[in-house]
């Protein structure tokens, strides 16, 4: 595993203005990347350029600016398709984020694919955004929410998952990487298992796209969703990928604006893909910023990013092990750069408050995955999550800060 050289890493860090600041007089160590990553200058510049010189509404304007902006917007759709290896750019729907992508799907599939008495299968490690929409859809339809359970390491029991598939759920919705445990699910295998039972699969890629190479055709997932802001792009923009065979047949979710074809006072026919699912004026600046983020990731190499983050993960685990009373929550064999832990005899918020004073930004709490906390019988955890710009020195500072905080609290 190679990762980045010191000069490469330094050059990367220099592209992120937010990293170069002090909090409480200490250099900021930003380890809350699973919540949102910082933005490189080229993403910030792209958004500024749009609002400075290119701003206008897209798709229907005949004037110069509108056509330019429309072309730039649609160019990002093609870039996104390339980034996740979709077969066609029409399979890329822009949303405001992962949560909206999943709600769009749940809204459209309600009554179309999933009806009275049906079931949906999720895992016990889903973020609330990939749990609550399905849970509520099931409630509306007197349908059943099936849950694949987790073992003590935080991996899905594949055998039980297989058994649940025999109940013929209408959809399987699983996360690629757990935001609370760091577990990388064997999604390709799980998708194949579901497909053997003719069940379509949604993969929540919010935590994966910025950390590993994703090929939706190779995975063969039916739907894949992710957010711009967790992959160095702006907030308020995300993607729903769906196989054309599904999206084409599915009914629209929201109505109005660009998503129509012909409208009379009594009837409306709808636009074709992808516009059918994009009601209202889209977040054009956000989409352009997302395009810049993809360029940035393509230049940087996802393979190297993954290696680098893995090195940081290993180093952090090694350093943290010496903290008295530390307990890692989530010990999957295959995992991403996310560490969740508790220190026995202390509360996660106490640790979080104290390390914050030392300049270290971590997240504490349930990480929008309360069932995971219940499963492991903890009130919450302290979570550190790495990005391509974090350094070994920062990991040292973080581990020392946790050590010091635990010392103060014990």
């Amino acid at each position: 595993m190679n990762g980045f050289t010191a000069s490469e890493l330094n050059e990367l860090r220099n592209q992120f203005p937010a990293l170069h600041q002090r909090v409480f007089g200490k250099p900021l160590v930003y380890l809350d990347n699973a919540a949102t990553t910082q933005k490189p200058q080229l993403v910030i510049d792209r958004i500024t350029k749009y609002y400075s010189y290119e701003n206008c509404n897209i798709h229907r304007g005949v004037h110069y600016l509108s056509q330019e902006a429309t072309a730039a917007f649609e160019d990002v759709r093609t870039k996104v398709a390339g980034f996740i290896h979709a077969a066609k750019s029409e399979e890329i729907i822009f949303t405001k984020g992962t949560t909206e992508s999943i709600n769009l799907l749940a809204g459209s599939l309600d009554g179309f694919l999933i009806g009275i008495g049906d079931s949906v299968l999720v895992t016990g490690m889903e973020h609330h955004s990939n749990l609550v929409p399905w849970q509520q859809l099931c409630k509306r339809n007197q349908a059943k929410l099936l849950v694949a359970e987790l073992d003590d390491r935080g991996e899905v029991f594949l055998e039980q998952f297989g058994k649940l598939l025999e109940q013929k759920p209408k959809l399987v919705a699983i996360t690629h990487i757990s935001n609370a445990l760091g577990t990388i699910n064997p999604v390709k295998e799980m998708i194949a298992m579901a497909h053997a039972n003719d069940i379509p699969v949604l993969i929540d890629g919010a935590q994966s796209v910025a950390h590993m190479h994703v090929d939706v055709q190779d995975l063969d997932c039916d739907f894949f969703v992710f957010s711009g802001h967790k992959m160095y792009g702006p907030m308020g923009v995300g993607v729903l990928y769906g196989k054309e065979k599904w999206l084409d047949k599915m009914p629209p979710w929201q109505f109005g604006g660009e998503m129509v074809d012909q409208v009379s006072l009594q009837e409306t026919t709808f636009n074709q893909l992808p516009f059918k699912f994009e009601a209202g004026t889209p977040n054009v600046a956000g989409v352009l910023g997302l395009g810049a983020a993809i360029e940035f990731l393509n230049q940087t190499s996802l393979e190297k990013i993954g290696q680098h983050e893995h090195q940081l993960l290993d180093l952090a685990m090694e350093k943290l092990r010496s903290v008295q009373g530390i307990r890692f929550i989530g010990n999957a064999k295959n995992r991403a750069g996310v560490i969740s832990f508790v220190v026995d005899g202390t509360h996660p918020t106490d640790i979080g408050t104290l390390v914050d004073k030392m300049g270290v930004a971590v997240r504490t709490g349930h990480h929008c995955a309360q069932p995971v906390m219940t499963r492991f019988d903890v009130p919450g955890t302290v979570r550190a999550s790495f990005a391509l710009y974090n350094t070994a020195e920062e990991v040292e500072v973080f581990a020392a800060a946790v050590q010091k905080a635990a010392g103060m609290l014990h």
């Binding site: 409480f24 202390t346 509360h347 996660p348 918020t349 106490d350 408050t353 104290l354 004073k357 504490t364 709490g365 009130p379 919450g380 103060m408 609290l409």
Partner: protein, 141 residues
């Protein structure tokens, strides 16, 4: 002592700390000494919402004064609760309702007062004032 006098006393205590560590060590110590809520009151009814850690708060009215007890599973939160109890416990409902909490800012714990802060200090103060309000209404009737 009046609420104002106690607050001034706390501000003067905190002014002796040279760095954040001393301040937080003191908060942690105070957390260990919080007037502990009776176990039978540690129910959902006494939980304060808006906190990442769980905080239970109980109040009693004796001879026209309000007495608070509390607990939390996070020790720094408990330290902050203890500060508030020191300020408000044993005071009249009217005094509690009139008091401000500017001293929190003066002792450099302002970040804990932000309404978005998940430790819910704001909710705690609100709950204490709510108890005072209820006791005041009872008195007036």
């Amino acid at each position: 002592m009046t609420i104002k006098e106690i607050q001034e006393q706390i501000v003067s205590e905190f002014s002796m700390f040279e760095d954040w560590m001393d301040k937080y060590n003191y908060l942690i110590e105070m957390g260990k000494e919080v007037p502990r809520i009776d176990e039978r009151f540690k129910t959902n009814n006494h939980l304060i919402s808006g906190c990442q850690s769980r905080v239970w708060l109980h109040a009693e009215n004796r001879d026209g004064k309000v007495y608070f007890t509390a607990d939390s599973d996070a020790v720094i939160t408990k330290g902050i609760v203890n500060l508030l109890i020191r300020v408000f416990s044993g005071q009249s409902p009217e005094a509690i309702l009139e008091a401000d909490t500017d001293f929190i800012e003066q002792i450099g714990l302002k970040e804990h007062l932000s309404p978005t802060r998940s430790n819910g200090l704001v909710s705690m103060v609100k709950q204490m004032k709510l108890y005072a309000q209820v006791y005041k209404l009872k008195q007036d009737n």
